[in-house]
């Protein structure tokens, strides 16, 4: 008998028992759905983190307060080795680094939490005193206006650039932390999904009456009035988003606030080749200004290495969940098929009496399990893909990423499960003696 005929019999067998098939298939559908979604989450998180870290650029070096301890093999342990000490980095350190050979730029970050006021709205935000290089180094694009200049830095000009969330909140378009008596420490709240979907459906009509922009307007921070000269484009990323920041010249920040110590500095080497040399020179330049080593100089590859550890843990966890899900669904399918073989004992006896060979019976039941797994797997993958699409079009915190290799791997895996767990029921069916099977009640 041709393989195609056995396959056809298997299809027919499945169709004839479609209710049982559906219940058996649910295990594979749910298992594959979970695997696809978890894979997309793991890869999405990894990609987002890598993109953020990688966006600094290979030629960039991070100067952090505190000391990153070395591991036994002399590498910096960023995951557990960063000591928690108050910052002693100053703007003078940044100026000292500017004199180091092969340093292209130094971008200091002087950060504090503050309340911005406009009209009658009070919005909690992160005030960042920095240099004119900030938007370039942070890859923060402007949606309107401009960034402050070197000259404005020198003049201690009272100008600010708003992060997108802060801009929207001050305009009253978005809920963000507000300063009032009832809830001074409210967490950041973005628009709920249903509201975003509604906004999309309604288009511009929903915000037609809202004020367009704050560029050119005055915003009050710490009782001082600042002119808004630009607004950053949305930059919804994990950890280092600029959306809730207000940027101003570092000289202005030092003059108008109590802030003295830098949160961090981003040093740009002139070329990738000179990174190692600059790394050491920056360290020495700061060391000469400090009585002890209470700072760390970290290169991009060290940051990515630390991130690699986190994502490796994620991948191991994902692998564990995947194997468990597949074993559970595979065992479920096998049990259902074994029950099916038992229930169809008489049918097997009839088929054998009519001339079906052992291999034909085996082939029929094997293909039934295989088809069941493959169809269930395909449905699970499809549902997972649909979930990812819905997530990506409605949730902005990070994008779920489903690479083609993951889809192929999932399909091969379902094929593998079907093959592996289909053998036992098929053998059980094939080994039946026709004379006994015909008498089965």
């Amino acid at each position: 008998m041709k393989l195609f005929t056995v396959f056809k019999l298997a299809c027919f067998g499945l169709w004839s028992n479609r209710l049982r098939v559906l219940s058996a298939m649910m295990g594979v559908v749910i298992g594959m759905f979970a695997v696809i979604v978890l894979t997309a989450i793991a890869i999405g998180v990894k990609d987002t983190l890598m993109k953020q870290m990688g966006s600094l650029g290979a030629e960039q070096i991070l100067v952090l307060p505190g000391r990153v301890l070395d591991t036994a093999n002399g590498q910096k342990d960023l995951l557990s080795g960063l000591t928690n000490v108050p910052s002693t980095l100053t703007y003078d350190d940044a100026k000292a680094i500017e004199g180091v050979p092969n340093v292209k730029s130094v971008t200091p970050h002087l950060e504090t939490i503050t309340i911005a006021q406009y009209d009658e709205k009070n919005v909690q935000s992160v005030l960042v005193g920095t240099s004119d290089q900030y938007s370039r180094v942070q890859h923060a694009n402007l949606s309107e206006g401009r960034f402050f200049t070197k000259e404005e830095q020198a003049e201690e000009a009272k100008v600010i650039v708003l992060g997108n969330n802060i801009h929207e909140a001050l305009l009253g378009n978005q809920e963000v932390p507000v300063e009032n008596e009832e809830s001074s420490n409210e967490a950041v709240q973005t628009k709920p999904i249903w509201k975003k979907v509604l906004d999309k459906l309604l288009g511009e009509s929903a915000s037609a009456e809202e004020e367009a922009s704050l560029v050119g307007k005055q915003v009050t921070i710490n009782d001082e009035s600042f002119e808004v000269i630009g607004v950053l484009a949305p930059n919804a990323t994990l950890g280092s988003s600029t959306d809730n920041n207000i940027m101003l010249p570092i000289e202005t920040a030092l003059a108008t606030t109590d802030m003295k110590n830098l949160t961090k500095m981003i040093v740009e080497a002139a070329s990738i080749q000179s990174v190692d040399e600059v790394d050491g020179a920056v360290f020495n330049a700061i060391k000469t200004q400090h009585s002890e080593i209470d700072f760390s100089v970290v290169k991009q590859d060290q940051m990515l290495g630390a991130l690699g550890k986190v994502t490796s843990i994620l991948q191991v966890m994902l692998f564990g969940i995947t194997v468990t899900a597949l074993l559970i669904s595979g065992t479920g399918i096998m049990n259902v098929m074994v029950m099916s073989v038992r229930e169809r004992t008489r049918e097997i006896g009839i088929r054998k009496a009519l001339g079906a060979t052992t291999s034909e019976i085996m082939g029929q039941f094997f293909f039934e399990t295989l088809l069941l797994c493959c169809i269930g797997g395909a449905v699970g993958i499809g549902l997972g893909y649909a979930f990812i699409e819905v997530w990506n079009s409605n949730i902005e915190i990070f994008a779920l990423v489903l690479p083609m290799w993951a889809v192929k791997l999932a399909l091969y895996t379902t094929f593998g499960i079907g093959s592996l767990f289909g053998i036992y029921p098929a053998l059980k069916a094939a080994r039946m003696k026709p004379s006994r099977a015909l008498r089965f009640e």
Binding site: T5, I350, R351, A353, L354, G355, T357, K433, P434
Partner: protein, 219 residues
Amino acid sequence: MIELRDVRKYYRSGNRKAEILRGVNLQVEPGEYVAIMGKSGSGKSTMLNLLGALDNLDSGTYELAGKSVHRMSRGRRAKLRNEEIGFVFQHFQLIPNLSVYQNVLLPLTYGRKRLRRKKSRVLALLDEMGISNKKNQKPDRLSGGEKQRVAIARALVNEPSLILADEPTGSLDEETTESILNLFDRVHKNGATIVVITHDIEVAERAERILHLQNGVLV
């Protein structure tokens, strides 16, 4: 056509070994209509299983249409069942999920005949059995007589040299029994070799020869 020589069959139950057939000898000529009678537990079913190549002999020889069944592998016995033997069982043994047409087609599915011939053969047989109007129905929608007609059509579809019937009218009323036995007569007249295993004398009397199975031996 059929030649059994000194056939023995045992069944083991724990440490006990029961001899069901104790040296059975049987010769059936082509085109012959034979009935094997016996009381319950006399070994009729065992006899049917051996004649139908559904079970192995423990000793002796079995020749069917010139082929040594006792020496055959499982695969060759399956082929022999498909090509040379047509079964009619007491409880019809139709597959409930398949339609009448699909049940009759089943032996051809496991055979090597071309599709066009298969379809025309099945339709002709359904017509001959008077059930062509039921071809798309499932067995549970049929009466006992109709079910047995489907079973007979299925037994004949591959043009086997031997029809083996196990209590073919055991589940039928008198009127239907008569029509089914008439159908057997017609099949026999067309040249088929028929072996009917029964405990019903009226069924056995339609055969040309009646044999009795007593204490595991044919007399």
